[in-house]
């Protein structure tokens, strides 16, 4: 190869590489508007929705200690720009027209979805979000029975920006009663996997911030129901994501807390019928009891009572989900893993799921008497 040929090749390669690079639109972060949260609400017009893009104000950024609590300053911490349209691109364009900086979605932390959002629109939103190159599909997704914008605009004294409240909350699984944090990719994964339905934590505003103790069940982007706090606690135990569940037994005036442990789901097909077994091996801490000097027998009775209650509650919850034809526990998914050929015979799964015979075995061990976890 002659020198001139080599030079031509090198120049060509460098030119091609440069043309492929992203240098032409690179921009310092202070010249971008960092969208930290997005809220999705139904619009007044059919087949349209409203998107709220929330970003910190420059003054809040300048005085922010980012991870710390609220400064209590009276100034605006975040500002919202809104767009309404039939797709995300249209709403994005409308929002971009209202700000001087580049709307940057790469640092998105929170997606708030109204439970009133029709399934078609939600599917469209999720489809569009997966196509944003800078979005790494790790934002947390929450559902709300209120307006998503209302939730985003609500402040908490515990964090300067609303999204940081949820970032802190969901980033620490053991800090919650149930580890309810769902990232975008987890939600999408459940929606895309046959035999399992998605759930999202439901957030409601409270005077001192937010309440997050319930979950919303979804089936193919369609909102189905919101479980009560008690059901959510059982759901957490069944999912194996419970950390601080507690139960009270008036007979002994006993209170057990930090109920947590593994959940093992198995399936079988017996005589053409699907059977599912959920084995729960839980540990709990005795927080209080009426008799000051409890004995082993008394503890055993409490443990048995706890096991029975959790089993009964779990059965009730599963019956409810079967009645609603939504499978958040992923029994169908487990069947497809363990018995793929049998699973193929039961498609569509949602017609079969209500007929599944589900057995719950629960064993509670109280092994840390009086310890405060």
């Amino acid at each position: 190869m002659t020198t001139s040929n080599l030079l031509i090749r090198i120049t060509l390669m460098m030119g091609l590489t440069l043309s492929l690079s992203a240098c032409w639109d690179n921009r310092p972060i202070n010249d971008r508007m960092l969208v930290l949260s997005m809220g999705f609400d139904p619009a007044h017009k059919a087949h349209q929705y409203q998107v709220t893009f929330q970003a910190p104000t420059p003054s809040a950024t300048a005085s922010s200690d980012a991870g710390g609590g609220s400064s209590g300053s009276s100034g605006m911490e975040v500002f919202d720009v809104k767009g309404t349209g039939p797709d995300l691109a249209a709403t994005f364009s409308q929002a971009q027209a209202q700000v001087s900086k580049d709307l940057f979605l790469g640092q998105l932390i929170l997606l708030a979805i109204s439970t009133k959002l029709p399934p078609g629109e939600l599917a469209s939103i999720m489809n569009s979000l997966t196509r944003i190159g800078t979005l790494d599909k790790t934002p947390f997704v929450i559902a709300t029975n209120q307006s998503a914008t209302q939730v985003l605009e609500h402040t908490s004294p515990q964090a300067r920006f609303p999204c940081f409240y949820f970032l802190t909350l969901f980033s620490c699984p053991t800090c919650q009663t149930d580890s309810l944090g769902v990232r975008l990719w987890q939600f999408l994964s459940r929606e895309a996997t046959p035999g399992v339905d998605a759930f999202l934590p439901v957030v409601s505003t409270a005077p001192q911030g937010f309440t997050t103790d319930t979950v919303a069940l979804y089936r193919k982007y369609r909102y189905v129901t919101t479980l009560s706090p008690k059901e959510t606690q059982i759901f957490g135990i069944l999912e194996g994501i419970s950390h601080k569940a507690n139960f009270y037994f008036p007979r002994w005036q006993a209170d057990i807390r930090a109920v947590s442990g593994g959940s093992h789901l198995s399936t079988a097909v017996i005589h053409g019928k699907v059977h599912a077994t959920i084995n729960l091996r839980l540990t709990a801490t005795l927080a209080s009891i009426g008799s000051v000097t409890e004995d082993a027998q008394e503890l055993s009775m409490v443990a048995q009572a706890a096991s029975k209650r959790i089993t009964d509650d779990a059965r009730r919850l599963i019956k409810k989900t079967q009645a609603l034809d939504v499978d958040p526990l992923g029994i169908g998914r487990m069947l497809s893993w363990q018995h793929p050929r049998s699973y193929a015979q039961y498609l569509p799964w949602h017609q079969e799921y209500p007929k599944v015979d589900v057995t719950v075995h629960c064993t509670v061990t109280i092994n840390k008497m009086g310890d405060i976890k």
Binding site: S21, P28, I29, T61, Q107
Partner: protein, 605 residues
């Protein structure tokens, strides 16, 4: 018309006939034609003389004086050459005549004021003319005065010299002068170089051999502490400019006869002494031969710095990475020699070179070996961490702030955004501004006097750093990053290794600006690929990482205990790879002291 032209014209011109010859010639012509020829010749001579006179008259008086002086010198030089030619039929050989030698030297190197020509007589009663030549300042006056001239002038047995002129030099050598090292030479070309090197020449009338007395005594720096490769616990001796001292410092560390110093002289003008050192029976002979061949193949007019030889000692001289290790520490050179490397010492350069050197050699220091292996390993790891921080931190800053901000944690992004509010420049300009300031401070600190440079460096860094942040030219985070970068890039214990990283820093910065983190990875892969492609004397530069050699890894990123260094590095392919054998440890018998103490205790009880 220049001096040379005038001189040539005068030389080309036929000499006018001497007066006697002219008279005879005037008597001799018998024919008319001959008379005419003479007349024409005379006219031509007159014309030439007239032209010359015209040129001379145009010149300045001082120039005229110089011309006359030069002509006289040239005439004497010619006369000395003629005498040598008459006797030995060679211009390069001493004729045995002191007068001729004096004339020759006086009109050549003797024109220089630092050359001393001393004529004297050997013996008291019977006397033989002699000539002593030395270089003022490079020779030891005491050795010349007391050990040479004094003894020669009082020599009693001059008769023996007269009777045996052929071995006169031998008699003087054996019985008179008391200089430790004396040799004999006859060739003028070598004699002149000897005297320029500080030797003293003794010419004895009638003797064809010239005594060359080693009276060399250079003005030299003392052996001082190393300044560029300081060590906490290691030896505190560094080379100075004198090659003999360098050899002595190495010899003191390797006293065995296997240590070989092979002299070379390079530089047509400088005649610089070069020493190729290696340990016989250890160093690979192929490498030693290759070093000598490469040096011999190089022709230089002047060897001022040892670095001028590094290009011929490197297989890839255009590479950024140094392939020849320079060290001012005698202990490091001795250690390299003992490992099987070849050292090159250059006169007037206080740094010795060792080849073949690998990338890892530039990250090994004396302190790595004077402390425990824990200490050595920790220091090395810190050095590499410093390198990675220095090389990658600003590029990562540029890439993550400008191109890939989605890769940063949100809280950190908010913090950085807060620090960058109001900064008018993009991050890459911040880096350029700050790094330029750092380079200016560094350059100024090197050039300024020591006391001033420390103050300027400290004050400059603080004042400039504070000012640029307050002026909102760069962010305060950038100050932290650049400070760490500046410190990190200089963690290399060898200064020459810091330069490539300082240059590559820009390469990585530009790659990060255009391609983000992907560009940084590409740049780092490119650098590693380049390192892996380098070879010197058939030794891979990236040994022992590429090709991977587990044995040599023991002395790479971390230093294993000494007991692990049983063999020399494999990449050097040494003649004798074994360098250490560990003794079999046997349980120590009860020391008698214990039993004695026990007995005493028993007595007390």
């Amino acid at each position: 018309m220049g001096w040379f032209d005038i001189f040539r014209r005068r030389s080309d011109r036929k000499d006018p006939p001497s007066s006697t010859q002219t008279v005879l010639d005037h008597k001799a012509p018998t024919s008319r034609n001959e008379a005419i020829d003479h007349a024409v010749e005379t006219v031509n001579s007159a014309t030439t003389a007239q032209e010359t006179l015209k040129i001379i008259l145009d010149l300045h008086l001082n120039v005229l004086r110089d011309l006359i002086s030069e002509t006289q010198t040239f005439q004497k030089r010619l006369e000395a050459f003629t005498q040598d030619l008459e006797t030995r039929l060679s211009l390069n050989t001493f004729s045995g005549q002191v007068d001729a030698a004096y004339d020759r030297l006086k009109n050549t190197i003797g024109q220089s004021p630092d050359i001393i020509l001393r004529r004297f007589y050997i013996g008291r009663k019977q006397q033989i003319p002699a000539l002593l030549v030395c270089e003022d300042g490079l020779s030891d006056n005491q050795m010349i005065d007391q050990d040479t001239i004094y003894l020669l002038q009082r020599f009693e047995n001059v008769q023996s010299l007269k009777e045996n002129p052929a071995i006169a030099h031998q008699i003087v050598h054996d019985s008179v002068v008391s200089i430790g090292h004396a040799t004999v030479e006859t060739q003028w070309s070598k004699l002149l170089i000897d005297v320029m090197g500080g030797n003293t020449l003794v010419f004895i009338d009638g003797c064809l051999e010239v005594l060359v007395l080693d009276t060399v005594k250079y003005p030299a720096r003392a052996i001082e502490q190393p300044t560029t490769e300081r060590a906490v616990k290691g030896p505190q001796e560094s080379f100075n400019e004198v090659i003999l001292t360098q050899m002595n410092l190495i010899r003191r560390r390797i006293k065995g006869p296997a240590l070989s110093f092979e002299p070379l002289v390079m530089g047509e003008l400088s005649n610089t002494s070069i020493i190729v050192a290696h340990v016989q029976g250890v160093a690979n002979p192929a490498i030693v031969l290759a070093v000598k061949e490469r040096l011999a193949s190089l022709t230089l007019a002047n060897v001022e710095y040892g670095n001028e030889l590094s290009s011929v000692l490197s297989d890839n001289p255009s590479s950024l990475f140094p392939q020849v290790r320079f060290s001012e520490r005698a202990d490091i050179i001795a250690r390299d020699l003992a490992l099987g490397k070849v050292a090159i010492l250059v006169d007037n350069t206080p740094y010795a070179m060792t080849v073949p050197s690998t990338f890892m050699d530039f990250y090994q220091t004396t302190d790595d070996y004077t402390g425990s292996f824990w200490e050595g390993s920790l220091q090395r790891l810190i050095r590499f961490i410093g390198l990675f921080i220095g090389l990658l931190m600003p590029p990562l800053y540029v890439a993550l702030i400008s191109v890939d901000p989605e890769l940063l944690p949100t809280r950190l992004v908010i913090t950085i955004e807060a620090s960058r509010l109001g900064i008018p420049f993009p991050p890459i300009f911040e880096v350029i501004i700050m790094w330029t300031i750092i380079e200016i401070l560094r350059e100024a600190a090197i050039r300024l006097p020591k006391g001033l440079s420390t103050t300027l460096g400290t004050v400059g860094a603080i004042v400039v750093g504070t000012a640029v942040v307050k002026a909102a030219i760069v962010s305060d985070l950038m100050i932290v990053i650049i400070t760490l970068t500046a410190l990190g890039l200089f963690t290399s214990p060898v200064y020459s290794m810091a330069t490539p990283w300082r240059v590559l820093f820009w390469f990585v910065i530009i790659a990060s600006y255009f391609f983000g983190t992907y560009g940084i990875i590409l740049a780092v892969v490119g650098i590693i690929a380049h390192l892996a492609s380098l070879e010197n004397f058939n030794v891979p530069y990236f040994s022992p990482f590429g090709p991977l050699n587990l044995r040599d890894l023991k002395d790479s990123m971390v230093r294993f205990p000494y007991s692990a260094f049983k063999k020399r590095p494999a990449y050097l392919a040494t003649v004798n790879p074994v360098q250490r054998t560990e003794p079999q440890r046997t349980p120590m018998p009860h020391p008698p002291m214990v039993s004695m103490q026990r007995e005493r205790l028993d007595d007390d009880v």
